[in-house]
Symmetry: C2
Subunit: 188 residues, 2 copies
């Protein structure tokens, strides 16, 4: 049982008006006029994101699937847990099932929810749902056009060592690995 | 010693042209024409971010500073490690020192680098440098206009429990806490 949180002030910022200021192919930027808790006016700019999933997909109790792909904003390749964005109206678990097939080529007979995290709270609405997937069987990947990545298997202990050494720096992936290392248990 | 990474394909995407498509008060969005590894053309949209720091600031060996603030994109309060963005030309360690005073009101006599992470590799250039800070002395906070937050002290064990319970979901903060829990050592 954790300690109770300390008494907390209310810093709520209320929306006065909201405008879609950039409507791109990938990114939607909103800029809202807000009222601060001290009564002053301000503005907030942020990305409207559909939400995402990532998966700890277990090939065995100590081995998971990882992906390696080029991430253009950073101009280098990254090692990541399999992940993907929600389509409109899609339930997160269905996104996870769809992406595990599309990107990695696997279906899983057992799925369970692990955690939910917020990756960029300063400027994005994004939320990431982490699922576990087990009892995998290969059905073949179906990458989107323009999507280039490769999937490989790794021992969780090796992946954790890559976090320690700074080889894995994708923050969502470090969370999934470290969370599982500390608290992970397979469901009944 | 971790396992070697598997043999890896080159998925590099090369820049054909780059355009600043939204130049806001906080967010800068670029849209680049790129050449994919298969020779096809595509585009990539992303946020250009100046980079950021966060701090594990130790009040004692088992107690750190945390912040609680309202994050408008998510419309709720979050518990976070102290953090802040680099100003133009600022070295990350200097940002860390500046933000620890401005937000929390502390100077530290000992600083050390812990890790570097990439929080939103799909759509942002952001990098976060994690520092440790020890031997704190209170000099008084200097919050920016429009910045409302409160600092409090917490046992690392309690903060980890809040991660487990989903009370702390800010991904950078979960990384800092879990990394330190697994590998943290104070420097000599």
């Amino acid at each position: 049982m954790a300690a109770k949180l300390p008494a907390a002030s209310d810093f709520t910022e209320t929306t006065v008006s909201s405008e879609l200021v950039y409507d791109g192919g990938l990114l939607k930027v909103r800029r809202d006029a807000v009222r601060l808790p001290d009564g002053h006016d301000a503005w907030r700019e942020y990305i409207v994101h559909p939400g995402a999933v990532m998966m700890l997909a277990f090939k065995s109790d100590d081995t998971i699937l990882l992906e390696r792909q080029f991430r253009y904003p950073k101009h280098r390749h990254f090692i990541e847990l399999p992940a993907g964005k929600l389509e409109a109206g899609e339930a997160p678990l269905n996104t996870a099932k769809r992406e595990l097939v599309e990107e990695c080529g696997y279906e899983a007979r057992q799925w369970w929810k692990i955690a939910t995290i917020d990756p960029s709270i300063g400027y994005s609405t994004e939320v990431i749902h982490l699922y576990g997937a087990r009892d995998l069987h290969h059905v073949g990947a179906k990458l989107d056009a323009g999507e280039h990545l490769e999937t490989f298997e790794a021992k969780i202990e090796d992946a954790l060592q890559w976090v320690k050494e700074g080889v894995i720096t994708d923050t969502k992936t470090t969370f999934g690995l470290l969370w599982w290392d500390k608290w992970g248990r397979f469901p009944e």
